[in-house]
């Protein structure tokens, strides 16, 4: 159960940051995960008045405000044109429309949850986070950081030419994924991002050059074997570590094969 003594709609990022320096303060995202825990919160800080609830597209990037919702991501035409629908595929299985109308991109990314479809798909792209004090840094770096008391302001996706495929395996519809897998080719770089390991999503690059000559069935299988071997997994109530390792192999191979014939976004 969570208790909250004070609720404040911050009128500036500086106010939000200042209030958040107290360790009993919490920045509200969608509040969906926060509500599930036990916490005694002195000040709940709401960013809803700061105009961060938009997804803006320019010629070379998407800028997603921290309070934009997963539903906005799901329905954003530009984001889904760029990713060939991978973003919508990543979020459409998350509970239901009502939930996705509330869950925020900022909350999902800040949480760096092990089960996160959002973190997984974003790591498959050239994604950065903008922190109020920490500035702009790669999402991959942010995903590995410990929690601090900064404020996540925006998520920025650079529109580099590429292809993107997202798949997940769930025991039951709307449940957390047993494994999540984003596969991408950005420029000449291939990567597989494995989420719900069940730890935080991990980026696996083609360090052995298995795909440098392009994707074939044999090369896809070799990279999938490599990804499965290199990705640490653990068991929980949704699946064993061995099952997850098997799924990584299957989904990475399928993803690469889909990537080989998939839609590619090119800059104009």
């Amino acid at each position: 159960m969570i208790t909250i003594q004070n609720y404040v709609r911050a009128q500036s990022l500086e106010e939000a940051y200042r209030l958040n320096q107290n360790r009993r303060s919490r920045v509200l995202g969608g509040m969906l995960w926060l509500k599930m825990g036990n916490a005694s919160v002195n000040t709940a800080i709401d960013l809803c008045d700061l105009g961060l609830d938009t997804i803006e597209e320019t010629a070379d990037q998407f800028v997603i405000g921290a309070t934009a919702t997963l539903r906005q991501m799901e329905l954003h035409p530009g984001l889904n044109a760029y990713t060939g629908g991978a973003v919508a595929e990543a979020v459409r299985h998350i509970i239901g429309v009502q939930f996705r109308n509330m869950a925020t991109v900022g909350g999902s990314v800040w949480g760096r949850f092990g089960f996160s479809d959002v973190l997984t798909v974003l790591l498959g792209m050239e994604t950065y986070v903008e922190l109020y004090h920490g500035g702009i840094l790669p999402l991959e770096q942010f995903a590995a950081m410990k929690y601090d008391r900064d404020i996540l302001v925006r998520v920025i996706i650079q529109k580099k030419p590429g292809r993107f495929v997202y798949q997940s395996m769930r025991n039951q519809r709307t449940d957390f994924p047993v494994i999540a897998c984003a596969v991408s080719r950005i420029g000449e770089e291939y990567r597989a991002v494995i989420g719900a390991r069940p730890g935080r999503a991990l980026v696996i690059r083609d360090e052995r050059g298995l795909l440098k000559e392009g994707i074939t069935g044999e090369r896809a299988r070799a990279f999938a074997d490599d990804a499965a071997w290199r990705t640490p997994t653990e068991g929980n109530l949704r699946g064993s570590a061995a099952y997850r390792t098997h799924l990584i192999r299957v989904l990475t191979e399928r993803g690469l094969l889909a990537l080989g014939g998939g839609y590619e976004w090119k800059s104009r």
Binding site: Q5, G30, V97, M102
Partner: protein, 151 residues
């Protein structure tokens, strides 16, 4: 703290605790159609429409709804009456506990997509759980309503 929101078209002002959930605010103001179910944001029983979008009232602070427009089934009975009979005709209401959430989200679906396919209906209503019916009855009811509109 004092908040004001528009509830079913009427301005409502009240003094609340900072951690009061919207579902409790709504029930305290007579909106008993809003049901408490799983409390883990997964069942859809507490669905209301805020600023035109379906949300889960068990998972949002009442304070956050201040200044917004909230609609519950009490305020949307006319819109709901167009199709709920078709769902009842299929025997899909059964115990009835999930119905208000189902109906609210169906209203949201039909506003957003007036002619959904069966797959679109299933996908939109995936966040509404029913322990009685197995979902086919609701789907058949909504389909029968949509077909009836085609004349």
């Amino acid at each position: 703290m004092e908040i004001t929101m528009t509830l079913n078209g009427r301005a409502v002002t009240d003094h609340i605790d900072a951690d009061l959930l919207l579902i409790d605010f709504l029930r305290a103001h007579g909106c008993y159609s809003v049901k408490r179910g799983c409390e883990t944001s997964g069942c859809g029983l507490c669905t209301v429409i805020m600023d035109g979008r379906p949300i889960l009232s068990c998972s949002i602070l009442a304070a956050r709804a201040a200044g917004h427009s909230v609609q519950t089934l009490e305020g949307l009975q006319e819109e709901a009456s167009e199709f709920v009979g078709f769902i009842a005709d299929q025997g899909a209401d059964q115990c009835g506990f999930c119905n208000p959430g189902f109906v609210m989200n169906t209203i949201a679906l039909l506003r957003e997509n007036p002619n959904p396919t069966d797959d679109e209906i299933r996908e939109y209503l995936a966040g509404n759980l029913c322990r009685c019916s197995g979902y086919d009855g609701q789907l058949r009811g909504i389909r029968a309503y949509l077909d009836s509109r085609q004349g």
